[in-house]
């Protein structure tokens, strides 16, 4: 039989492969490199690297300058923030542990000291800003696309209320986020927090639990939270499934599932559980 042996990937190959045309990863990389080196023969590898980077960056500016590219950014940042919400909710449900806040305080310490979580947190802030500014940019473009509106508009039969008011709902959520970050994130980072230690544990924990409880004992503060969770619910009811459509994932078999996850998990369950926290601590304080 006509077999030969590829010295690079150490596999036997049949006659259908040319002797130096083995389709192993090593060979393919070499072929690609050689092609690029022929194109820029003078400065070998460094030129190759910078060229690839230059090509990639022009592709991305071209892509993300277009209306569709902007929507990809909107969808991907939004869906990332959706996954963040799940993690945030699961962590915060420890407020209900009934142990005087020990689980929650240990968790808060972990979230502010683990380097991996810290990196993800900054990615998260970046995505929030991206989502906000991209949304603003798109809204301004949309305004320009129809400077003179209709005298009579009846869109109630053709689209959902939340889908038409994503900007307003998003702005409400942003206002909430600023208040929320000021009360908890800012205090945790820069505030003068009470500390607490637990038996058999040398670490002095910042008592985040007390800060949360005291904040939610104020009626107006809890009310703001509950109202904001309604805004979040309507925003995600449209936003979650819309994100999939924007990146081109629409399939008759899977889209109904995505839509029900958007409705029941992100539109009802998650906002309801978040809203339960201020309600619980407010009622407890009465």
């Amino acid at each position: 039989m006509n077999y030969w042996y590829c010295l690079k990937c150490l596999y036997f190959r049949s006659v259908f492969y040319e002797p130096d045309g083995c389709l192993c990863v090593y060979n393919l990389v070499m072929i690609l490199l050689q092609r690029d080196l022929q194109r820029t023969p003078s400065v070998a590898t460094f030129a190759h690297l910078t060229n690839s980077l230059k090509h990639m960056s022009t592709v991305s500016t071209g892509l993300f300058r277009s209306s569709l590219g902007r929507k990809y950014l909107m969808a991907l940042s939004g869906l990332f923030l959706c996954t963040f919400l799940i993690v945030h909710l699961i962590g915060n449900l420890q407020l209900f542990a009934g142990d005087g806040g020990q689980a929650f305080n240990v968790y808060s310490y972990f979230m502010t000291h683990n380097p991996l979580i810290k990196i993800v947190a900054y990615v998260n802030y970046a995505f929030i800003l991206l989502h906000v500014f991209d949304g603003l940019y798109l809204t301004m473009q949309n305004r320009k696309a129809r400077p003179q509106g209709y005298a009579k508009v009846d869109q109630s039969k053709s689209s959902t209320w939340s889908s038409r008011n994503m900007g307003i709902l998003g702005t409400l959520i942003l206002v909430f986020l600023i208040v929320h970050m000021r009360t908890f994130w800012f205090e945790m980072k820069f505030g003068n927090m009470p500390v607490i230690s637990y038996d058999g544990d040398p670490i002095q924990y910042k008592d985040m639990y007390v800060v949360v409880v005291e904040a939610f004992e104020q009626a107006w503060y809890s009310a703001l939270y509950v109202i904001s969770m309604f805004a979040l619910a309507f925003h995600l009811y449209h936003g979650f499934q819309s994100g999939f459509q924007s990146i081109g994932l629409n399939h008759h078999r899977y889209t109904p599932t995505i839509k029900s996850v958007g409705t029941f998990l992100f539109g009802i369950l998650i906002p309801a559980l978040f809203a339960a926290m201020p309600i619980f601590f407010y009622i407890k304080s009465l």
Partner: protein, 247 residues
């Protein structure tokens, strides 16, 4: 039937327009919406007034010319119909009907209810074709195409380019139109060689013409007289992403 019409009158793109109210006393239920406008214009001509300018052509729902924004909805209250296929029996005696032109930066008003939709033509010119000399018609089934693909391509090709999607979209986005024109070729073997370059060029011109961005409200799908599906928009989103990564 007695109908009160509030119609947008505008001399040309440069002068500001306004609503004018007309009273029609003898409208038949069997008339189409455009036939009612014929009666109105007949009245106006007899009174030595200027008739209302509006686009119309085939009057059987396939040409896509009859652009009217009726009572806050593109092509009026019925779904899956054009204005010429909308009949007066869907209105009540004594109704007041507000009629406006499509409103979008990309569709400048020519006169009254007529708008310039040549932005759509320029999108098509950018890539909505297969640039190969096809020669004689080949035998049917010489290129095998699965039935589902053929059906989907045909559904996309049903788009008549009326502009109702742009008119009804809160952002004046042309995504449904462009995606239908991208999909009808992307689904067929003949469209594959230019699949990537086509979607890139058509989206580029769509953006340059000043249409808005898609927020997936789905209003276009509901108001489209040919009931083009949002799946086409997803297909275009997907193709554009793949085309930009691959090329």
């Amino acid at each position: 039937m007695k109908i009160t019409l509030k119609v947008w009158r505008q001399q040309n793109g440069k002068t500001p327009g306004e609503f004018k109210t007309y009273q029609l006393n003898d409208v038949s239920e069997d008339m189409s919406f455009l036939e009612m406008f014929d009666i109105l214009n007949d009245d106006l001509v007899r009174k030595q007034d200027e008739p209302v300018a509006f686009d119309h052509d085939c009057r059987e729902g396939i040409c896509g010319m009859c652009s009217m924004y009726i009572n806050g909805r593109a092509h009026g209250p019925m779904t899956g119909t054009t204005t010429c296929q909308l009949h007066m029996r869907h209105f009540k005696d004594g109704d007041t009907i507000v009629v406006e032109p499509w409103r979008a930066t990309a569709f400048p008003i020519i006169k009254d209810l007529m708008v310039d939709r040549s932005a759509f033509d320029r999108v098509i010119q950018a890539g909505g074709f297969v640039s190969v000399n096809t020669g004689n018609a080949v035998d049917a089934n010489s290129v095998p195409i699965p039935k589902q693909d053929a059906d989907k391509a045909f559904d996309a090709a049903a788009c008549i380019g009326c502009g109702a999607c742009v008119a009804t979209c809160k952002n004046a986005s042309a995504m449904l139109f462009v995606s239908a024109k991208v999909s009808q070729l992307a689904l067929l073997p003949q469209g594959q060689p230019e699949r990537h370059i086509r979607v890139k060029k058509m989206v580029e011109i769509m953006d340059a013409e000043g249409f808005g961005n898609c927020t997936n409200t789905g209003a276009c799908e509901v108001e489209c007289p040919k009931e083009i599906s949002l799946e086409n928009i997803a297909r275009m989103n997907r193709d554009y992403l793949v085309a930009n990564i691959a090329d």
